[in-house]
Assembly symmetry: C2
Homo-oligomer: 471 residues x 2
């Protein structure tokens, strides 16, 4: 089924590898961290897509960065695949980079291993798949856009078996604030049997990955209020309520040592035998540098919810410590939600838990009357909540994608029922289609960091993958 | 017994009140926050003491600020009283002051209530006891030195019933780093039946105070170490040990809600019925602005030990929050010790408690091997520890002081078995005498703050007090 497309794709990238890298370098030279730069990226991408025969347009909601969307028609009656990628990047401070972030450079290996800058290859020159292209947005996530362009370029006139619709976003690094609105507006044009979210890195062992979900997210900040100001701890330490001590007890009672919330109303329903078995089959990650607890693998845990304590603050420690009862203490938490858990309800469950622990809940800094009336006072702020997403492992559309990945990579992918991390993929609900996440970038590409890079072999994998999806 | 001395003292201060304030103003105009200024203070004090017939000298340990010490001989066979005060002050930023901190000014009331600057009185002019002298070190603690000078000045040739030895320190605000050494070197010259530590403010209701002790102190900082660096909480939140969560549980298990340590080895022996009854009889403090717990008064609690959480820190909260498993979390604690508790042993008890909670103890940041071997890793740092001090309520020397206070103030003092706060009074152990703390300054004198001030009536009380002690 993928044979012909892959033969075409491989022949193409072997014949014109230097030219493909030249086009990628042209793309990566356009800064993708400013509104003007994102506009130029969008126009460049649209023009390149149209030159390759796709229908494509740039659209823009007022106040949002532009979105590039479009369509490639396949055989009538064939399936339709959706492809998502993003072309915006994390801010890039040039001082941390070995070469300027928007001057794409080629190296025969990793700069950390001493690989020097080499000249871009001339037409006909052999290109090594272990070469790397350094630039902001090479791995995260403009390589995925380049893979789409390459796969379209590789075609020799044959009509694809599948139709392809695509949405290329420019606000992913800002948390995709308008993605839901864009997808809602374009839902009629973006109907597909399955969406492929092309972002993130492949497995550290080099295996291709297909992930069927992500966790949702609720950011929660709990502040416990003590006396009206920092008080002398000698005089008041065994008299005034100590918000740092009260907060410690509260936080300690909200999760078990593996991070599973021990809060009423946050129970997670059984993800099912198939998901559990698939999660258990994911290869163990490499030594993370800390002692594990001997329990289930991270992939099995990622099917449940998790409460992380991401920050604590009360008065000062170290050189800044003073002998006071702090006036307040704050814990910042991120609650990762399993698919099916309601983020608004989750924040409410936390609020109820804090109230049940005897805290008087306030919305703002308490006034003198409230402070005199209650010894335990807390504010619970819930922020930026969105639900998780999980596609059934036996979804037929997803099965097509897994097959395409295996054909393109020449190896069965690692199937991950859910990432432990969170992405706002719930926005795709507007499209009423299942989705899977298929990364193409190398895992050691310094995404978000300096010296971000894309391994050429991973670009080849991406081109082959899109070619196989088109069929 | 105190009648004659007090008659003398009152007649003196009524006759020459303007001259006494003039001498105080001369004293307070000498800055007491720099080494040079402290030297000038010491010489001024010594000269004034000698002019009033006391034997006095300035001594100086290399690297320390000077100490003024000396003696006034009383009737042979009479008791000897020791008097401690300090003449150094907290740093004073003039920008926060209504008049420059070293330009003493007189006001007929509190500057916060709009009291203006008034001229210094001329000889013969009436002086109101509610007037206040504004300058750094007026209340804390040069007023006590001025009281000594006034009491000596008041004498009309009669030999005092008691002898007086004195030690006037210039490093109190720096934590008295050399006081123990000074007292040890001068022990033979400073023998007394009881020492009177003349520092701090009287009771907010204006009552005189005699305190029989202070708590000791151990500063403890506990750092729990997690992964080698901040890790992505989506991927690692239910896999890596979370030091902020572990620290919360640890801290919550170290004290009850009233701050009493729940650590084995920190039990406090019964302070005795007399101390408990005296503590219970101390007038209730004013409304502190927070809800109490309905338990014993702060003075009763001050007879025991207390563990305060004075600071917490792990990664960021609020705008600085990021989705990480923090690499470390720190709690800063101050452990207040009842008299008789060994501060070194107390730190060891905390260390044992942390180890018993399953933590592998380290002295420094753990290396990769330690991190891979232990899921719970903590560092316990104990700092600046010193023991508490408590004089028996029925001590005969202290009884003399209480009687003198009552005679000088015309009212029975509030007897406080122990302050909840800590002062390094254990240094007086070198003198092998009981001690009591007798403040003379008004409670609303902004000690350590800007617009520090001494109420004239409190200076009169101080002069009368020292006169009565001399007898």
């Amino acid at each position: 089924m993928f044979e012909e497309a892959l033969t075409e794709s491989r022949r193409y990238r072997e014949a014109v590898a230097p030219e493909i890298l030249g086009s990628l370098a042209e793309f990566l030279a356009i800064p993708n961290v400013t509104p003007g730069g994102l506009d130029r990226n969008a126009i460049w991408i649209r023009d390149e897509l149209m030159r390759r025969g796709a229908r494509s347009a740039v659209t823009q909601i007022p106040g949002a960065a532009p979105l590039v969307f479009g369509r490639v028609d396949g055989e009538p009656g064939g399936p339709t695949i959706g492809l998502y990628a993003h072309f915006d990047g994390q801010p890039a401070d040039p001082s941390g980079w070995s070469s300027p972030p928007f001057t794409p450079t080629l190296r025969p290996g990793k700069v950390e291993d001493g690989a020097p800058v080499i000249p871009w290859p001339v037409p006909g020159e052999r290109v090594d798949p272990d070469w790397r292209v350094y630039a902001r947005g090479s791995a995260d996530d403009r390589g995925a856009v380049a893979a789409l362009l390459g796969a379209l370029d590789a075609r020799t006139g044959r009509r694809p078996a599948a139709s392809l619709v695509f949405a290329l976003e420019a606000e992913e690094e800002a948390g995709s604030p308008h993605l839901g609105e864009y997808l809602g507006l374009l839902a009629d044009r973006l109907r597909a049997d399955v969406w492929v979210v092309c972002d993130g890195p492949v497995h550290p062992n080099g295996s291709p990955v297909v992930a069927f979900g992500v966790r949702g997210m609720a950011e929660i900040e709990i502040t416990v209020f003590g006396p009206p100001g920092d008080l002398h701890s000698g005089h008041f330490g065994d008299w005034a309520p100590n918000p740092a001590a009260l907060l410690s007890g509260l936080v300690a009672g909200m999760r078990d040592e593996a991070g599973i919330p021990t809060i009423e109303g946050l129970a997670v329903s059984d993800p099912g035998e198939a998901a559990r078995a698939a999660a258990a089959a994911v290869p163990e990650p490499a030594d993370p540098g800390f002692a594990g607890d001997g329990g289930p693998s991270p992939w099995e845990r990622a099917l449940g919810s998790m409460l992380n304590v991401r920050g604590l603050a009360a008065a000062g420690v170290g050189e800044r410590a003073r002998n006071v009862v702090p006036r307040a203490a704050t814990a910042s938490l991120d609650l990762r939600l399993a698919a099916g858990q309601d983020p608004v309800g989750a924040v409410e469950a936390v609020r109820r838990h804090v109230a049940a622990a005897g805290f008087h809940l306030v919305e703002d800094e308490p006034d003198d009357t409230v402070r005199r009336a209650h010894r335990r006072i807390a504010r619970v702020e819930g922020r930026a909540a969105y639900p998780g997403v999980r596609t059934a492992l036996d979804d037929p559309g997803a099965a097509t994608v897994v097959a395409a990945v295996e054909a393109a990579a020449g190896a069965a992918p690692v199937v991950i029922p859910s990432f432990g991390s969170s992405m706002p993929l719930h926005h795709f609900a507007a499209l009423e289609a299942p989705l899977v996440i298929v990364p193409i970038a190398n895992h050691d590409g310094n995404q978000h960091g300096s010296d971000e890079n894309l391994r050429v072999g991973n670009l080849w994998y991406g081109i082959d993958l899109v070619a196989a999806l088109l069929g």
